[in-house]
Amino acid sequence: MKYSTKESDSFNEESLRTQKDTHFGFESVPENEKEKRVYEVFKNVASKYDLMNDAMSAGVHRLWKDHFIQRMAPYPGTKLIDVAGGTGDIAFRFLNHIQSQINEDSFQSKADEDFEFPESELTVDLGNKGVNSSEVKSDSDSSSSDSSGDVCDDVHRDVLLKGSHVTVCDINQEMLDVGKHKALQCGMVSGISWLQGNAEELPVDSNSYDVYTIAFGIRNCTHVDKVIEEAYRVLKPGGRFMCLEFSQVPNPILRSVYDSYSFQVIPVMGQVLARDWRSYQYLVESIRQFPDQETFASMIRQSGFSMVTYENLTFGVAAIHSGFKLS
């Protein structure tokens, strides 16, 4: 309980305070320093990031992210920019979702063709896709089969993904490296690109993406409003802004349980698993500093988004905020 009162008070104070200072967890730091310190945090935790996510949430963060993608329900051809998506959790799920849709479609059309057998065997199973796609490649286009394998695979898979693409953007190169490594490991080579950049000034063109996602990242940005405005800029008309972020648990009993877990267990876990108490102390504090569902929704609305909604996950521990850019 004591944390929650502190949280709401300090948030109000923060927002009233002059532009110079911002919050870093419960600490107050100069604005220009926050970015650096956040960078440090994620540089330190990058290698253990996924392990810690699993440990802290007992795997529930996977369910949240799966649900997040299901809410988005992207169709083939969708262009996604995943901001603060360093380790690629959202990006891989996005591509998998699209792939499964394409598989379903081709299954459907095959069923429609009354089981005409194999020539058009273009479906790619994601599990061992590397192998499969090269096979398909050499089957269908044997004349140029010995040209540089990687590029051809890319082109081929781009065709299979029907132009779907995800740009993973993160300010932190270490996190991107972890993501790239994971991508290589599971054979996700095409339909994905990696970009180092600040969410407050994305190095991409305006009106160029169908969906903008930011999962567990916006909390760490110095100017949340700028980030949302930037999201508005890069989205096409009709595009969707989706944000998965820790939020506030409205039920006081659950909140007290959640608070004591956060403050008593998570930093200890951080120390044991990642040898880093302070970063995880920052994590739980920054969650308390982040505005609650309604406040954040109104911030999104203020940046010009329409049809702004949110959905609580696990009693409000996390929430999906969504808005559309109409024009």
Partner: protein, 293 residues
């Protein structure tokens, strides 16, 4: 200390007048159906009456190939309906107001999605296809979190607007059924009013108007349910009596009489609303004057 008075008038207004207004709208209403689209639609229609007219007449509805006459009819009925619903929805809605642009975008997408239903069924796939047709990203289907059922509701909503003509036709059809016995019908009406026969006559009439309202799409479950049926029963009986002495070809005068009665009820709704609004306004003014002295 005058606040209780003000509250009292408010109570009287909401509890007594509103249901009348509702039923004078003469349009079927689903209280439960509307969440996003229907709600938005009705609020939209209400809040900007003029814009409604221009939307329906000049807007995209024109390419549906309806005749001009029907269109004006729809506009009238639509406006009544929206008016009525506003009263219900104002309190229940938890989210923010839907803007004009949001409403039009959603409507545009749903309209474009309907042709894809044959291919994709009532699913979000159809909505996604419709969004792409409209030049929007397919993820715009996320504007309809309930998925395909929003398409169904949208379609029903566009159909429901024709309730007004439906009721008129239903009454007419029913009255035409008695024309073969018209020479002896006064007697039939008379014996139905005898005390021993009246209960069944009343319940027959009740069932008749209930059926008409039901098939017009009405599912109201409040006081409104009775007022709607009551007013339709009155119109039905009045027209029946008029019909007894009608000597025109094909009972032409009767159908005109029926039209006028239906229009009367619509107008009465409007007038009652105006009067009660003015009354309330004056009462508030008076109250303020009292307080300030």
């Amino acid at each position: 200390m005058y606040i209780p008075v003000a509250e009292g008038t408010f109570f009287i207004r909401t509890a007594l007048f509103e249901p009348f207004l509702a039923h004078y709208g003469f349009v079927a209403i689903h209280r439960q159906t509307s969440r996003s689209v229907l709600l938005g639609r009705q609020k939209r229609l209400l809040s900007t009456h003029k814009r409604l007219l221009s939307t329906h007449v000049n807007g995209s509805d024109t390419n549906n190939g309806n005749s001009g006459e029907v269109k004006t009819d729809e506009v009238l009925i639509g406006s009544k309906e929206s008016y009525v619903n506003e009263e219900f929805y104002e309190e229940g809605e938890e989210g923010g107001e839907e803007t004009e642009e949001e409403y039009h975008t959603k409507e545009r997408i749903l309209r474009a999605s309907l042709p894809f239903v044959h291919q994709h069924g009532w699913t979000k796939n159809a909505i996604a296809a419709g969004a792409e047709q409209e030049g929007l990203p397919s993820v715009a289907h996320g504007m309809f979190p309930r998925g395909g059922v929003e398409l169904v509701f949208y379609l029903l909503q566009t159909m429901k607007i024709k309730t007004g003509p439906f009721i008129k036709e239903a009454v007419e059809m029913r009255l035409r059924m008695i024309t073969p016995y018209m020479d002896k019908w006064p007697q039939a009406m008379a014996i139905q009013t005898l005390p021993q026969n009246a209960p069944e006559a009343w319940s027959n009439l009740g069932n008749l108007v209930d059926e008409i309202w039901y098939y017009a799409g009405d599912r109201s479950n409040d006081f409104n349910y009775y007022t709607k049926r009551g007013s339709l029963a009155a119109i039905y009986k009045a027209t029946e009596i008029y019909m007894l002495q009608d000597k025109s070809d094909d009972w032409q005068d009767t159908w005109e009489f029926l039209n006028r009665r239906l229009a009367d009820v619509n107008n009465a709704g409007k007038n009652v609303k105006n009067v009660s609004d003015r009354l309330l306004l004056n009462l508030v003014r008076l109250t303020l004057v009292f307080i300030s002295h």
